[in-house]
């Protein structure tokens, strides 16, 4: 299911030519709307749920909904990036919450 952009939180990467979600999307699906300079997905059906944009967004403004087959609303999968670790919060359709956090960078 396509990314949903919180229009309040999105700041259009401060009006830059290419927002971070736009730059990272492997399918070139994200763009900044001309009038509001907020991000949006141009072709929701083409999204593969890779969640790159969710992780890249510095404002935490993007959320992807899980595909219906995996779990209908309110099931969620939310990544949160630290400086060395990444965490995943998995909320099932039965509201069960599972959390994973592991190191993904060594330097």
């Amino acid at each position: 299911m396509p990314p949903k952009v919180d229009q309040q939180k999105c700041d259009g990467c401060k009006g830059e030519k290419e927002a971070l979600c736009e730059a990272i999307c492997p399918g070139d699906l994200m763009y900044l709307k001309e009038d509001s300079l907020k991000a949006d997905c141009r072709s929701p059906r083409d999204c593969w749920d890779c969640m790159s944009c969710v992780k890249a967004c510095p404002q935490g403004a993007i959320e992807t909904r899980l595909p219906y087959q995996l779990g209908y609303y309110p099931a969620k999968l939310i990544p949160l990036l630290g400086s060395k670790r990444v965490s995943w919060t998995c909320i099932g359709q039965d509201e069960k919450v599972e959390r994973f956090s592991y190191k993904n960078r060594n330097d």
């Binding site: 939180k9 990467c13 009006g15 510095p58 935490g60 630290g82 400086s83 670790r85 965490s87």
Partner: protein
């Protein structure tokens, strides 16, 4: 550091003072004045207080001295048409220089300026906007600036204090104070200099005319400091009539060629009417319109004021200083003082040792430009290679760019991500019974308050707190907070200055926005958003800091341990 001139915008008393002092210090200066003459408004005065000497004298000393230096350029009839920051540390300023020969085309000048002193002065409030005084409509209603020229040999009356329209003698003169000033429909502020100007003009009149009566309609006479002594002198020596109340109307009586003033004396609660030969309006000042300077903060009235009281002349664009009436309404003496302050700041910038400034990892940077947008000082700009670059001379080491970088590729040495990671790792390896809290402390206010607190309580009651000082609370990157939370620390507290007291102007408010965004994400993750909080602490509020910590700890105890633990 890049080399360039210092550009002084405005050739009034402030601009001339600044340019002359810099030239004497051996700095290459360029002075741009939009009118065809130097000296600005001071050149059109008859005398200036407190010594009552002619301003010509002071101005000529400055102009003579300035024109002696080969490294000082003076450009008249020249206006700034563009200011660009192209290389770190340099402004490329385009100027349009007109010629006194009307047949000639205006010439375009480009100056590489290492710094700019804005001494563009201020305009006088348009007195005709106050309809009831009839300025521009009634003969004999003049502004205090026009009153000055009545005493000057090159003025319209040849220096004779006579009626400027009829040429008749002056017997009764009224002064109206606060013309536009302290009136929310016109100028909400006090211009500060007009009371003393009126006192000075009362002195002019009484010294040159024997049978003169002067009246002053005022709200409050404001003569702070040593000017009070001058006020007392004028009051006792010349005995003008003070009426506390501003006139409600000025009418012209054609048969007797007199102006009729109606007012209320608010002290005696009586109506006052008087007829006068001349009415002088003491007008306030309005800020200059300088449209080519981008990103410079103005105060609520539109003047270019720096961070008072710490850095009054340094504006938030590094390398741009304000002096004279562009800063706030002021008299000649204060203009000179503010010009000297700007010169000092400018020389400090030119001579200072390089400070700690952020390093940018261009391998990781994807040129999003957030650092350029968020830098409060304009010190971080997109360099010619397309990557952000910071000029060490411009940077004030606040680390706000580091806090905003989504890719963590900006590092302020000594305060960067490495240090935070070490602190977090160390905290995780130690175990304490209560909640573990990562506490970010702003280096300006909160860290000193914390140090004082630690010595006061001797560490008791602060178990489980992991302190971490940052130059500004805006230097805290959201990824660090995430890191702490997903590693299993129970809470993160950001203690910064109060938003309106932030030394780097936008640090606390940026941190607040970042935290609000994070809190929303946390609540979606079913992680209590209360685990992160921001608080404002001033340097003397150690007790409040302790209180806030205790409150936060009680809250965390109620919430239980971090589910990521």
């Amino acid at each position: 550091m890049a080399k360039g001139k210092i550009l002084v915008v405005g050739g009034g008393i402030a601009g001339l003072t600044a340019a002359e002092k810099l030239a004497r210090a051996g700095v290459a200066v360029a002075l741009a004045e939009k009118s065809p003459y130097l000296g600005g408004r001071v050149a059109r005065l008859h005398r200036y207080y407190p010594r009552m000497c002619p301003p010509r004298c002071g101005l000529e000393v400055l102009i003579k001295s300035l024109s002696r230096f080969s490294h000082a350029e003076i450009h008249l009839i020249t206006e700034v048409t563009g200011v660009q920051r192209s290389i770190p540390g340099l402004y490329t300023v385009t100027l349009q220089k007109k010629s006194t020969d009307l047949n000639q085309q205006a010439e375009e000048l480009v100056i590489d300026a290492q710094g700019i002193i804005i001494a563009a002065g201020a305009d006088l409030y348009n007195a005709s906007l106050i309809k009831e005084y009839g300025y521009g409509r009634l003969p004999g209603v003049i502004t205090s600036m026009e009153m000055e020229s009545l005493f000057r040999p090159e003025g319209p009356t040849g220096g004779l204090p006579v009626h400027p329209v009829t040429g008749g003698p002056l017997r009764r003169v009224a002064f109206i104070q606060c013309v536009g000033s302290r009136n929310k429909n016109h100028l909400p502020y006090c211009s500060g200099y007009c009371c003393t100007v009126t006192l000075k003009q009362v002195q002019y009149l009484h010294q040159s005319l024997k049978d003169i009566r002067t009246w002053i309609f005022y709200q409050d006479i404001r003569t702070p400091g040593s000017k009070e002594e001058y006020y007392r002198h004028v009051r006792e020596e010349y005995r003008p009539v003070f009426i506390r109340g501003l006139p409600s109307s000025v009418e012209f009586k054609a048969d007797s060629n007199e102006l009729l003033l109606k007012s209320e004396d608010t002290l005696s609660k009586k109506r006052v009417t008087g007829s006068f030969d001349l009415v002088v309006l003491a007008t306030g000042m309005v800020p200059p319109a300088l449209t080519h300077f981008y990103g410079i903060e103005k105060d609520t009235f539109g003047f270019f004021s720096g961070h008072t009281p710490c850095e009054p002349s340094e504006l938030r664009r590094s390398g741009i200083w304000a002096a004279g009436c562009s800063q706030s309404p002021m008299d000649a003496g204060d203009s000179v003082k503010s010009a000297l302050a700007a010169v000092t700041q400018c020389l400090v910038k030119l001579q200072q040792q390089p400070s700690v400034y952020p390093e940018i990892n261009t391998k990781k940077c994807d040129r999003c430009g957030r650092c350029v947008k968020e830098c409060a000082y304009g010190a971080c700009i997109m360099g010619s290679d397309g990557y952000p670059a910071v000029d060490p001379g411009d940077c004030r080491s606040c680390g706000i760019c580091q806090g905003g970088c989504p890719l963590l590729c900006i590092n302020l040495p000594g305060y960067g991500g490495k240090k935070i990671e070490e602190i977090v790792d160390r905290a995780l390896s130690e175990s304490s019974p209560g909640p573990s809290i990562l506490l970010f402390l702003c280096g300006n206010d909160t860290y000193p308050a914390w140090i004082k607190l630690v010595t006061q309580v001797n560490g008791r009651g602060l178990e489980g707190i992991i302190p971490c000082s940052v130059p500004c609370i805006g230097a805290v990157n959201a990824a660090w907070i995430n890191e702490a939370l997903i590693s299993g620390l129970d809470g993160v507290m950001l203690a910064g200055c109060h938003p309106d007291q932030c030394h780097h102007a936008v640090g606390t408010s940026l941190a607040a926005t970042r935290l609000e965004n994070l809190k929303e994400t946390l609540s979606r993750m079913r992680l209590e958003p209360e685990r992160v909080c921001l608080t404002g602490i001033t340097i003397d509020e150690s007790a409040k800091l302790l209180e806030e910590i205790e409150k936060f700890r009680t809250l965390l105890e109620k919430l239980g341990p971090n589910p990521f633990k």
